[in-house]
């Protein structure tokens, strides 16, 4: 009987090995373990055994039955999983078809550039100041050391509202407004719109954007000016970018400089973007003129500072390779959706 049981076990295992469908598996179960199954038949014949043999054979038969049942279950799970996988392969979709979009809008490219610049300077401890666009002549010119009839007024063709009220030609009046209200240490940037009476064309606009910067504190040096602005350019254009400071003239800074950075396109070798110079002008800057500090009630013997002004359009045009300033104000959807 023992041999009989071993034979059944071996033949069930053979049959299980060959079974590939759930139906075959069920057939095996019925054939051996069903009511009229072979193993069941063996178990039914247990009564004929001797008292010594009965428990031994009984234990063996039970063990074999349990093993077989568990093997059938395992096999069943395997076949079910395989069948599911096969079914999944039949419901393939074309994953190259377009996704379902939520049509998100975009920030204007100028805002994107402005935000990038703000973040760089905020990281260096600058806060953001804002002020009026319609401005007193005093703040736009006089307090900045540009008296009436100063030739520097020629280069900034000014829109006048009244004799003493203008559309600001630069964000620099914010220097004065901040210094009048705030005690040093001062570290601010002032982004905003400025106005000059230039006829609109590909490179001129009567409205454009600047970011003004101002630092006033004890012991601020021209070396700090250079270091801060170099840091800014490296953050904007990458660590490999080089800068140079050229002496220049602004009535409200002394010494004054213009800053160039090595061309982002050619790295300084000279190309069509930088007109062969290897350098691109990015901003004007300088040490705050002692007269301007005095005009704002700050003692130039105790405090020094630096200021800078950045033209945003030029940076945006460079960054996005835009060749016509007018596009910024046309708001053509086909333009806006590109950024």
């Amino acid at each position: 009987m023992k041999e009989q049981l071993q034979q059944i076990k071996a033949s069930v295992e053979r049959a299980l090995n060959d079974a590939v469908t759930l139906e075959a598996l069920e057939e095996i179960r019925i054939k051996y373990m069903g009511k009229k199954g072979e193993l069941t038949a063996v178990l039914k014949g247990m009564g004929k055994l001797s008292a010594e043999e009965r428990p031994i054979i009984g234990a063996l038969a039970n063990e074999i039955r349990q093993n077989l049942e568990s093997e059938i279950e395992t096999k069943k799970a395997a076949i079910t999983a395989k069948l599911e996988e096969e079914k999944l392969k039949e419901v393939v979709i074309d994953i190259t078809m377009p996704g379902t979009k939520k049509n998100v809008g975009k920030l204007h490219p100028m805002t994107q550039v402005m935000n990038a610049l703000k973040e760089i300077f905020m990281g260096m401890g600058f806060s953001v100041a804002e002020g009026p666009e319609v401005e007193y002549d005093y703040y736009n010119f006089e307090a900045l050391n540009i008296p009436k009839n100063h030739p520097a007024r020629d280069t900034q063709d000014t829109f006048y509202i009244e004799d003493n009220i203008v559309l600001r030609t630069q964000t620099s009046p914010m220097q004065v407004r901040v210094m009048e209200k705030t005690k040093p240490p001062i570290r601010i940037i002032a982004p905003g719109r400025v106005y000059r009476s230039d006829t609109q064309d590909a490179t001129h606009s009567p409205v454009f954007h600047q970011i003004e910067g101002l630092v006033v504190d004890k012991n601020i040096t021209m070396a700090d000016l250079k270091g801060t602005l170099e840091r800014f350019v490296k953050e904007l254009y990458g660590e490999d970018t080089r800068v140079r400071f050229r002496p220049h003239h602004f009535p409200f800074t002394e010494p004054s400089a213009e800053m160039d950075y090595s061309c982002f396109n050619c790295g300084g070798k000279g190309c069509s973007v930088c007109k062969g110079e290897g350098w691109i002008e990015i901003l004007g800057c300088g040490m705050v003129h002692p007269k301007v500090l005095e005009n704002c009630g700050i003692d130039p013997e105790e405090y020094t500072g630096f200021a800078f002004g950045i033209g945003l359009e030029r940076i945006a045009m460079g960054k996005f390779n835009i060749n016509d300033l007018r596009l910024f104000f046309e708001n053509d959807m086909r333009f806006l959706e590109q950024f």
Binding site: L107, H108, F121, F126, R231, F245, P247, S256
Partner: protein, 792 residues
């Protein structure tokens, strides 16, 4: 300012420096070079030749066949069509492979069967102006000086082998509008010696005081007036070297006397004028203010009407020049002029600037005067002019000089504190190095006091001195450091944060940000149907606009938005949604700045309806935690459709308006589809926004829902129904959802059916069905009582 490099060598020596090196170093020391132009860059392989033979062409009635010696062995054969070619002439010959202005290339070839190995050129073909030659050449080829060396480059003959450096001179450096000033900067930059010889005048007797007297009436506007006289003048062309230098600087050579005044202007930066003494009536020059309405015909033969603020040079009868701007036509140098009066004067910068601007004349003289000149320079300049007269042999200098002073400024002195300069620059420059720079620039130092030279009106304080030290030390050598000191916080203000937040909320909903002009045409308000007496018509006006279209500051952003919608619609973009955070400008009293309220403008067209733009606003209010928002019907705003627009209020305060654009406004903007816009007051939104958000505990007790269809009058706004329901439901009514509004055959005419799902919930217990039913009953009862509504 144009600087011919050869002219520099009169005062300093930079031999061996290439134009590129020169430009780079000058730029880095503060004299920005815009470019360097080689005057002869358009001409190549054109040499002096001598015509040895000249025969008629066998097959032409006007061509000549010439044998020309070009200095390279055998003479070459050239066919020439000019009528004036003749044996023995020295002529410019473009050899095979030569280049002429305009990119013309000369190649050998046959002309009517005869070989021609080049071309004999006219002055036109070489691009040489008669003024550079000093005479009007005859028609045909250019006949050269008989002493010209055969085979030599013709560019040398005409001074075209010259590099001209173009400088951008900043307004604080009037001294650099001169060759001498730029030479001084050059010498300081390259650390070379610098020397300007003092002009020497040989006087030929007589006394200028017997011929002329000068009086300054306005001593503020005229700070100095020097005059010298030259007699026995012979007007003629100036010599080649002078003409070439003038032409290189872009100044046309005219005649010796005029050329001398222009030469001194360029060299010394001091404007000069020459009068014919015959035209100075009464032998007296008066520097006075013009009479209002006084007319003078200037050298360019234009009549200029003056006002009392303008300064003129006058004789006893009339104005003969506008001071510092331009001479009078009535006193110009003529071919038969024999006695000349030179003027070298100093006028007030602002006065010249205003006059030049007003009469619309910006001359070499006025552009220098208006930056502020050096009154010490008038004497050397007039002496130089007289020295040149002698050098050119074009007259004899009358003895004596008239020199009248007006009111001049006192020179400044500045404390020299080398340590302070170093700590200001962040450098460690030796005092001796600073002193060397000062010496090169003509800044005197005595007892630790600095005395800037008279030609540097820009050096007024220590910071100006620090710049001079920094420039010649080299900006590039100043270290780069990061600031030390008290830490400051780089953060946005709450308003700036809200701006960013709003931008993010709106872009997330598919709106594109736009940038529009803040100034526009006053007619924009007509396009918006704005009433003539509307306060929006009170606008900030630009007194000198570029044009009508950009002449007033906007009082509403609706026009800017509608223009954007229109542009995109007309570019055939099917639909679009936009927003702009901008400003409008509301005038205050005269002399006061206007208010510039921040405004949020929203706009969309096609494929949208009122509830799309309302939804955008609702999303935004929900994100900003603005509760208690109410929409009231807007009926009196002419921009909007009177039945489909609303005023938005939060806690009773107006935030703005939204709605469908009125069809007639759409027509005005040429928009052929429906469009919706909204204009919100940013500050009101900011004030309404709740930045103090608190967590409400999540309840584990289930909610009970009840659906109800309510039939009410068709005019009853759902907001009214909801108000009643919320009041009746009290705190236990946790959510109210409008599911459907129905009008039609199933219900009586003039009625509508509104379907709500109400959710009831208690924070501390499970609500029973009975409690929910009781609340629901109360709601229905109140609706019936207050609005006459019934359950369907």
């Amino acid at each position: 300012m144009d600087l011919p490099m050869s002219w520099l060598s009169d005062y300093t020596d930079i031999s061996g420096v290439t134009p590129k090196e020169y430009s780079d170093k000058m730029t880095m020391s503060g004299s920005k070079v815009e470019g360097v132009e080689n005057l002869g860059k358009d001409i190549d392989k054109v040499v002096v030749g001598k015509v040895l033979e000249c025969e008629m062409h066998p097959d032409s009635d006007h061509l000549h066949v010439c044998m020309v010696d070009v200095g390279e062995g055998e003479p070459i054969q050239i066919v020439c069509g000019a009528p004036n070619v003749a044996v023995g002439q020295k002529v410019p010959v473009a050899l095979n492979g030569a280049i002429l202005p305009g990119g013309i290339k000369i190649k050998k070839g046959k002309l009517r069967g005869v070989m021609s190995n080049g071309m004999i050129c006219s002055h036109d073909e070489l691009g040489i102006e008669p003024s550079r030659l000093g005479y009007e050449p005859e028609y045909g080829i250019l006949v050269l000086d008989e002493n010209a060396e055969i085979g030599s480059d013709v560019k040398d003959l005409f001074g075209l082998n010259e590099n001209v450096v173009e400088f951008e001179i900043t307004s604080n450096r009037p001294d650099c509008f001169s060759i001498i000033g730029l030479a001084r900067e050059t010498a300081a930059t390259f650390k070379k010696s610098f020397n300007v010889p003092t002009p020497k005048v040989t006087e030929a007797g007589g006394d200028i005081n017997d011929m002329l007297s000068v009086e300054i009436l306005d001593k503020d506007k005229c700070k100095r007036y020097c005059a010298r006289a030259v007699k026995n003048v012979k007007i003629g062309p100036s010599p080649k070297w002078m003409r070439e230098r003038l032409e290189a600087c872009g100044v046309r050579a005219i005649n010796n006397i005029v050329d001398i005044t222009n030469y001194v202007l360029l060299e010394y930066g001091q404007p000069m004028h020459a009068f014919d003494i015959r035209d100075i009536a009464g032998g007296k020059i008066t520097v006075r203010r013009a009479n209002d309405g006084e007319v003078i015909k200037t050298l360019d033969e234009q009549d200029r009407t003056l006002i009392n603020d303008d300064l003129v040079i006058a004789d006893n009868e009339r104005a003969i020049a506008i001071a510092g701007v331009m001479g009078g036509f009535n006193s110009e140098i003529k071919d038969d002029t024999t006695t000349v009066v030179f003027e070298s004067a100093m006028f007030d910068a602002a006065s010249v600037r205003l006059t030049a601007q007003r009469v619309g004349l910006r001359t070499e003289a006025s552009s220098r005067y208006e930056k502020g000149l050096d009154y010490h320079n008038t004497v050397p300049a007039i002496e130089r002019a007289c020295e040149l007269v002698e050098m050119l042999g074009c007259g004899e200098n009358v003895s004596g000089m008239i020199d009248v002073l007006g009111n001049v400024e006192e020179p400044v002195s500045i404390k020299f504190r080398p340590d302070k300069i170093n700590s200001f620059l962040g450098t460690d420059i030796a005092e001796a190095d600073m002193l060397e720079t000062f010496e090169r620039l003509g800044i005197e130092c005595r007892d630790m006091m600095l005395y800037p030279p008279s030609w540097r009106p820009d050096l007024l304080a220590e910071a100006d001195i620090a710049e001079e030290v920094a420039r010649f030390y080299g900006y590039d050598l100043i270290p780069t450091t990061l600031m030390v000191g008290q830490t400051t916080c780089g953060i946005l203000t709450p308003e700036q944060k809200l701006e960013r937040e709003i931008s993010n909320i709106l872009t997330a909903q598919g709106l594109y940000e736009i940038y529009t002009y803040n100034f526009q045409s006053p007619a924009m308000l007509d396009k918006l149907n704005v009433a003539p007496n509307s306060p929006l018509r009170n606008q900030v006006k630009i007194s000198n606009p570029l044009g009508e279209d950009t002449s007033v500051m906007r009082t509403t952003m609706a026009g800017s938005m509608l223009e954007t919608l229109s542009r995109n619609y007309n570019y055939r973009t099917k639909s679009g949604k936009f927003f702009e955070l901008g400003r409008v400008y509301i005038p205050n009293e005269k002399g006061q700045l206007p208010d510039e309220p921040r405004t949020l403008m929203i706009g969309m067209y096609n494929d949208v309806d009122f509830f799309d733009i309302k939804g955008v606003c609702e999303e935004m209010f929900s994100e900003l935690h603005i509760t208690d928002v109410e929409y009231e019907r807007l009926t009196d705003n002419p921009v909007y459709h009177p039945g489909r627009s609303a005023v938005i209020k939060a806690n009773g305060k107006t935030l703005g308006v939204i709605g469908e654009v009125h069809p007639s406004v759409l027509r005005n903007f040429e928009i052929g589809v429906k469009a919706y816009i909204g204009e919100l007051d940013f500050t009101a939104v900011f004030n309404a926004a709740n930045r103090d958000v608190k967590y409400t505990p999540l309840t584990k007790f289930p909610a009970v829902t009840r659906d109800s269809s309510i039939v009410c009058n068709i005019e009853t706004p759902v907001a009214e129904i909801e108000k009643v329901m919320k009041k009746a439901g009290g705190k236990l009514l946790s959510k109210l959802e409008l599911n459907d509004v129905y009008t039609g055959s199933q219900i009586p005419e003039g009625k509508k059916s509104v379907m709500y799902k109400a959710e009831f919930k208690a924070p501390d217990r499970s609500l029973t069905g009975e409690e929910a039913d009781n609340l629901h009953t109360k709601i229905v009862k109140n609706l019936s009582n207050e609005l006459g509504a019934e359950l369907r």
